[in-house]
Structure formats: structure tokens, C-alpha cells
């Protein structure tokens, strides 16, 4: 047997350099390169809308796009964790509306400080998530039923909290500032440098840790490629944003949450256990992982992120009303990560698919608005895109199963 050869499996290198091209194609089909597929899809979408309306790729419209995707992207971060478990949370739209309403009522009608109002709103979202997660794991009720009940109940709670007026305008500058603050050009460039240096630093630390443990197999080239890619995207983005109003605070909030939770998902024990439960709850349980605790924590996270998304949405709208968190917000928040490659079947995905997915869906919505298409067309197109993404996910799963991967 090739015992000697495989005795050094730590190298982490691709097994066959020659078959790399075929391997890449296979991984593309099996969904491992879903992100590349989505980036290509995004490029096509942008090209089509730019062709139809040359204002689409203008700095002003791209800045608007960033502001439009913030709330959905934040909610999607929580959804990614729920999807990694192989579960679903249908209540996030209603929870985002309710949390925003709680914030508005406390701040506007009761005169609470904006910080305290925001804190309580976030805690409300977290408590709702804890409750739903506990019901799900304690009673074994399917998560979609628990959260469907939640959707109705929290929508009712939203109407109750708003009371007879049905709408509350927000004018506290601390709250409205969340979605309406733009940084100067200089600050924008500093942010760009910090982002690039931070990313390079994280990669370098990982590389040095591997060297320290005698794992020298990884070559430096892919790391350099990744840093270069991030640097180019960051610099171009800041340049575009600076040529309009500047880098928006809302975008920074979204990026910070995406980066933070990407770290949680991929680098921490909690994240590893979430993936394990999503892959095989039984295997996780036998390995001594507290499966119920993980599930409850993930639903609490989902509720928390829904609340934060709702607060950002209210800040942008400058108001909370009876339709806050309603309409297609829920479906877009779930569709985004799925479109960008997080599996509905659990155990596969990444937090940044929340950002990429929101970008794809936001671009479609934004572009159709620019073309002044009717709501009828917009709904049908968005539904079609979601269906397409789910079909691609299912095909990728079947392909994996065909080669013995689940």
C-alpha cells in the first residue's frame, strides 16, 4: 500500500496537480465553487442592468445599493447559522419589525436614550430566538412550524406595540445616523488600509502557526492571491463610494458583522459544533456536543441578527410602521445565502454568503426599480431567481451523493 506516501498527509495540497482543471470543474458542479458561480452571475446581472440603464453602475446608485442591502444582509447572517443546522427560521422578518417597533416606542414615545432603546430591542430579538429555539429543541417541533407560529405572533405583537397610530417617525439623530452617516474620503481610505492589513494579518498569523507546527506544505502563492483580490475589491469599492457620498456607516456595520461571524463560524469551537450538528446531529451528540444548547444558541443568534437588521431598516426608513419587517423581507433574507451557496440541507455554507446573496438580490431589485418595472414583474423575477438557486443547491447535493458525499 502507499503507506509511506500518505504518511505525510498534512501537506494539505491538492492530490493531483495534473487533474486540477477537471477537479475545479467537478467542484464547480458539486457546489464547492458556488461562490465563483455566484460572482459570475452577479457580473452578468450588473452587465445586463448597465446595458439597459447606464445609471446602474454609477457611484450614486451603487452607494444606494449598499444602503439597500444592509438590513437584509444583517438578517441573513443569522439565517446562515440556522441553515447550517439544516433548520429554517421563518420569523426573522416579523422579529425585525417588532424589534424596530420596540426601539421606536421606547425612544420616541417614552423618551428613552437611543442606546438603551436599541439595546432593549436587540434583547427582545434575542429572547424571541431563545424561546423559539427552546421550543424547537425541547419539544422536537419542526423549526419551520415553531417559527411560522412566531411569524404570526410577532406580527401581532408589532401591531400591538405600535398601537393606534400604526406608524412612528424616528428623528433621534443617533438612530437615524446608523443608516445615514457617510465618512469623508480620508476616513474611507484609512478604513480600506485597515481592512486590507487586517486580512493580510489574519492570513499571515495562520500561516505562521502552521509553520510553527511543522506544517510547511501550504505554498504562499494562494495567500498572496487572496490578499491581492481583497485589496483590489476594497480599494475599488472605497474609490467608488468616495466619488459619491463616501463610505456609509451602515455598510461598515454589515461588513463588521459578516467578518465577525465568519470568524465565529469557521475558527471557533462554537462554529465547528454548528457545522457538526448540521452534518450529523447523532454524530455530534455522541462526540459529547450539547446539541440542544447549540440549537438554542443559533436560534437566539438568528433573533438577535433579525433585531439588528430591523433597527438598521428603521433607521434608513426614518420610521417604523405596520408593514415593517413584512412583505418579501423574510424570503429575501433566506434566499440570499441560498443563492450564494449556503445549503438548505445543513452543514454547508459560509457567513459571507449573506453579503454576497444580499448583493445579488439587492442588485436585481435595484436594477428593476431603475427600469421602472412593475411590482408584478419584480415579484415574479425574484421568485424565479430563488427557485433557480434552490434547484442548483439540490443538484449540487445530488452530485455529491452520486460520488458518495453527503
Amino acid at each position: 500500500m502507499s503507506a509511506a506516501e500518505s504518511a505525510t498527509p498534512a501537506a494539505g495540497q491538492p492530490q493531483d496537480e495534473a487533474g486540477a482543471g477537471a477537479g475545479a470543474l467537478r467542484r464547480f458542479v458539486q457546489g464547492d465553487l458556488a461562490s465563483l458561480r455566484v460572482v459570475l452571475g452577479l457580473a452578468v446581472i450588473w452587465a445586463i442592468f448597465q446595458f439597459e440603464n447606464d445609471r446602474f453602475l454609477s457611484a450614486e446608485n451603487l452607494t444606494n445599493l449598499m444602503l439597500q442591502i444592509t438590513a437584509v444582509g444583517l438578517i441573513s447572517i443569522g439565517i446562515v447559522f440556522v441553515l447550517l443546522l439544516g433548520e429554517i427560521d421563518l420569523s426573522v422578518g416579523a422579529v425585525s419589525g417588532l424589534a424596530a417597533a420596540v426601539m421606536a416606542v421606547l425612544n420616541v414615545q417614552h423618551g428613552w436614550s437611543p442606546y438603551l432603546a436599541i439595546l432593549v430591542a436587540v434583547l427582545v430579538g434575542m429572547a424571541i430566538g431563545l424561546l423559539q429555539g427552546s421550543v424547537f429543541s425541547r419539544f422536537g417541533v419542526p423549526s419551520f412550524v415553531v417559527t411560522l407560529a412566531g411569524l404570526l405572533a410577532w406580527q401581532g405583537a408589532l401591531l400591538q406595540v405600535l398601537g393606534s397610530t400604526g406608524s412612528i417617525n424616528i428623528n433621534d439623530p443617533k438612530i437615524t445616523g446608523l443608516a445615514n452617516t457617510f465618512y469623508s474620503d480620508a476616513v474611507g481610505w484609512v478604513i480600506a488600509v485597515v481592512v486590507i492589513a487586517g486580512y493580510a494579518g489574519v492570513l499571515l498569523a495562520g500561516y505562521r502557526s502552521r509553520i510553527a507546527h511543522g506544517l510547511t506544505g501550504e505554498s504562499v502563492t494562494p495567500l498572496l492571491v487572496r490578499v491581492t483580490l481583497v485589496a483590489v475589491v476594497t480599494l475599488v469599492a472605497v474609490a467608488v463610494l468616495n466619488s459619491d457620498r463616501g463610505v456609509p456607516l451602515a455598510l461598515l456595520i454589515l461588513l463588521a458583522f459578516v467578518a465577525g461571524f465568519e470568524y465565529v463560524a469557521k475558527r471557533t469551537r462554537f462554529g465547528r459544533h454548528v457545522f457538526a450538528v448540521g452534518g450529523s446531529a447523532e454524530a455530534a451528540r455522541r462526540a459529547g456536543i450539547g446539541v440542544d444548547k447549540i440549537r438554542i444558541a443559533v436560534f437566539a443568534l438568528s433573533g438577535t441578527m433579525a433585531a439588528i437588521g430591523g433597527i438598521l431598516a428603521a433607521s434608513r426608513l426614518l420610521a417604523v410602521n405596520q408593514s415593517s419587517g413584512g412583505s418579501e423581507l423574510l424570503l429575501l433574507a433566506i434566499a440570499g445565502p441560498v443563492i450564494a451557496g449556503t445549503s438548505l440541507f445543513g452543514g454547508r455554507g459560509a457567513v459571507w454568503t449573506a453579503l454576497l446573496g444580499a448583493l445579488v438580490i439587492g442588485s436585481i431589485a435595484n436594477g428593476m426599480d431603475l427600469l421602472a418595472l412593475s411590482s408584478a414583474v419584480k415579484f415574479m423575477v425574484t421568485g424565479g431567481v430563488l427557485l433557480l438557486a434552490v434547484i442548483v443547491d439540490a443538484i449540487a447535493r445530488k452530485e455529491r451523493q452520486a460520488v458518495g458525499r453527503v
Binding site: 503507506a3 498534512a10 492530490q15 506544517l215 469551537r269 452534518g279 454524530a283 459529547g288 455529491r400
Partner: protein
């Protein structure tokens, strides 16, 4: 191999599930660097015995001694704490995670320093230790970063066995490690069992495949209808002897055939 110090000794263990006497005063044992195969027909009590040792069932009667001391194993954690690792037939691996993640599942290495606050994984340390462990067992997998779902059945079995060794156990229980494996994969797993013996571990293997059993085992213990029905040194024993003990046709002790017809099990016409 009898000269080996006994690690695990089971003395007259009985276990009853309602009307079924699953184990009836069974004696059993495994020593350092010894591979003991546990064979028997379906329902003979093999799995019950292994689960009793692993702490999933507690025995109704009898005693268990480990390293010369009488112990009580009432929970799986008790067995693990003593140094008894069990690899069940379904392996309990997460197919979506790589080999390193599966080996360390539930006992991940955590980084030191401020990263400890977030329970950050020490991936490099885990990868290093996993590679060390696997190469010391000469396990044949493409890469420790391969997703377990992409591995063959034999490779998955080897990963599951390697994982069980992480806690430095003294006894490893393997439930049907070669079931549903092809010939080359079976060979890999049998070789791995041989290396566990070289490490001085006591290995208990449940198997239906007598050819495999004779290839790897030092001693063969036969269970029949919940009772010990034979204890053979693999060397100098023929398959016929073992089969006879399993089916109760002759074997050792003239009461076997009588017992079989008494209880009307295993000898029913098709």
C-alpha cells in the same frame, strides 16, 4: 499471547431485557496487546456484551475488573474515563467535516492567548496531531483535510478508529469494523487492527466474518444464546470448531445442542 497482563476481565456478567436473557453469566477478557474476536450468531449477545463494557447497558449481575481493579461502568463516560474506547458500526462521523475536524470532534484544541476567549480553534495543532496519529497508524487517506464524505468505507473506518485513540485508551472495542467493506479495504482495516495490537492495546472485535477473524485475532470467544460457548486460541483452531460452537452442533460441552432445541432458537426450519 496469554502471557499478557489482563486489562479487562468480565466475570459472570448477566443482562436481561424483559423476558430475554441477553447475557447469562458470561466470562470474558482481553489483555495488553491482544486481539480478541467476539463471534456468534445474530442475537447471541455480542452487541449486548460490548455495550455493557462501553457503559451503555449496566449489567444485572457479575463484575468487571479493569487493570486489576473492580470497576463500575454505568455510563459511557465511565468507560471513556477508564480508557475504553468504542467504535460503533455506524462510525458516527460528520461527512461534511474534514478528517481533522472529525478526529477532534467534541475535544477540539483551543488556541492560547487572547484567542482563548472566543474558544478559537488551534487548527495547526490539531492538523499536526491528526497527521501524526494517522501516520503512526499508517492510515491511507489522501489528505487530513479531505472531507470525510469523500473517503471510502475503509478509510472512514480507519478515521473512526484513529479518533477513538485520541484519548489514549487501553482497550478498543470495534463493532463489525469490516462489515460492508470490499476486499482491499478490509485488508487495510485488518492491518490497522494489527497495529493497535503492536501499540499494546487490548482490542475486542465483533465480526461475522470468520476468515477475517482468523486473520487478525489471537483469541476467539464464541457467544451462543447469551452464554460463552467457546474460547479458542486462534492458532491451532480450525474454522469448523468455531462454527460448531457458534451453531451449537457439538462444540464444547454436550449441553449445547440440548439447550438449542430447548429454547427453540436458531435451529428452526426455514
Amino acid at each position: 499471547m496469554n502471557a499478557n497482563a489482563p486489562l479487562l476481565e468480565i466475570d459472570g456478567v448477566s443482562k436481561r431485557f424483559g423476558p430475554v436473557q441477553a447475557l447469562d453469566r458470561v466470562d470474558f477478557g482481553v489483555g495488553e496487546g491482544e486481539v480478541v474476536a467476539l463471534v456468534g450468531d445474530n442475537g447471541a449477545g455480542k452487541s449486548t456484551l460490548v455495550k455493557t463494557i462501553a457503559g451503555i447497558h449496566s449489567p444485572d449481575a457479575g463484575s468487571i475488573r479493569f487493570d486489576g481493579e473492580t470497576v463500575t461502568i454505568s455510563r459511557p463516560q465511565d468507560a471513556t474515563a477508564l480508557g475504553i474506547a468504542t467504535v460503533y458500526q455506524d462510525l458516527a462521523l460528520c461527512d461534511n467535516l474534514d478528517v481533522v475536524a472529525n478526529i477532534f470532534l467534541g475535544q477540539e484544541a483551543i488556541s492560547g492567548g487572547p484567542a482563548q476567549l472566543t474558544r478559537q480553534l488551534d487548527e495547526a495543532k490539531m492538523e499536526h496531531r491528526a497527521a501524526e496519529l494517522l501516520s503512526s497508524l499508517a492510515v491511507t487517506i489522501p489528505s487530513v483535510r479531505s472531507e470525510v464524505g469523500t473517503l471510502s468505507g475503509g478509510q472512514r473506518q480507519q478515521v473512526a478508529v484513529a479518533r477513538s485513540l485520541l484519548g489514549e485508551p487501553k482497550v478498543v472495542l470495534l463493532d463489525e469494523p469490516t462489515a460492508a467493506l470490499g476486499v482491499p479495504q478490509t485488508k487495510q482495516v485488518l492491518e490497522l487492527i494489527g497495529r493497535l495490537r503492536e501499540r499494546g492495546l487490548g482490542v475486542v472485535v465483533i465480526s461475522h466474518n470468520l476468515a477475517n477473524v482468523f486473520e487478525v485475532a489471537d483469541r476467539i470467544v464464541v457467544l451462543r444464546l447469551g452464554r460463552a460457548a467457546g474460547d479458542f486460541q486462534a492458532e491451532g483452531t480450525t474454522e469448523e470448531h468455531v462454527v460448531a460452537a457458534i451453531t451449537g452442533a457439538g462444540g464444547n460441552g454436550g449441553d449445547s445442542a440440548a439447550r438449542a432445541s430447548d429454547e427453540g432458537e436458531g435451529t428452526e426450519p426455514q
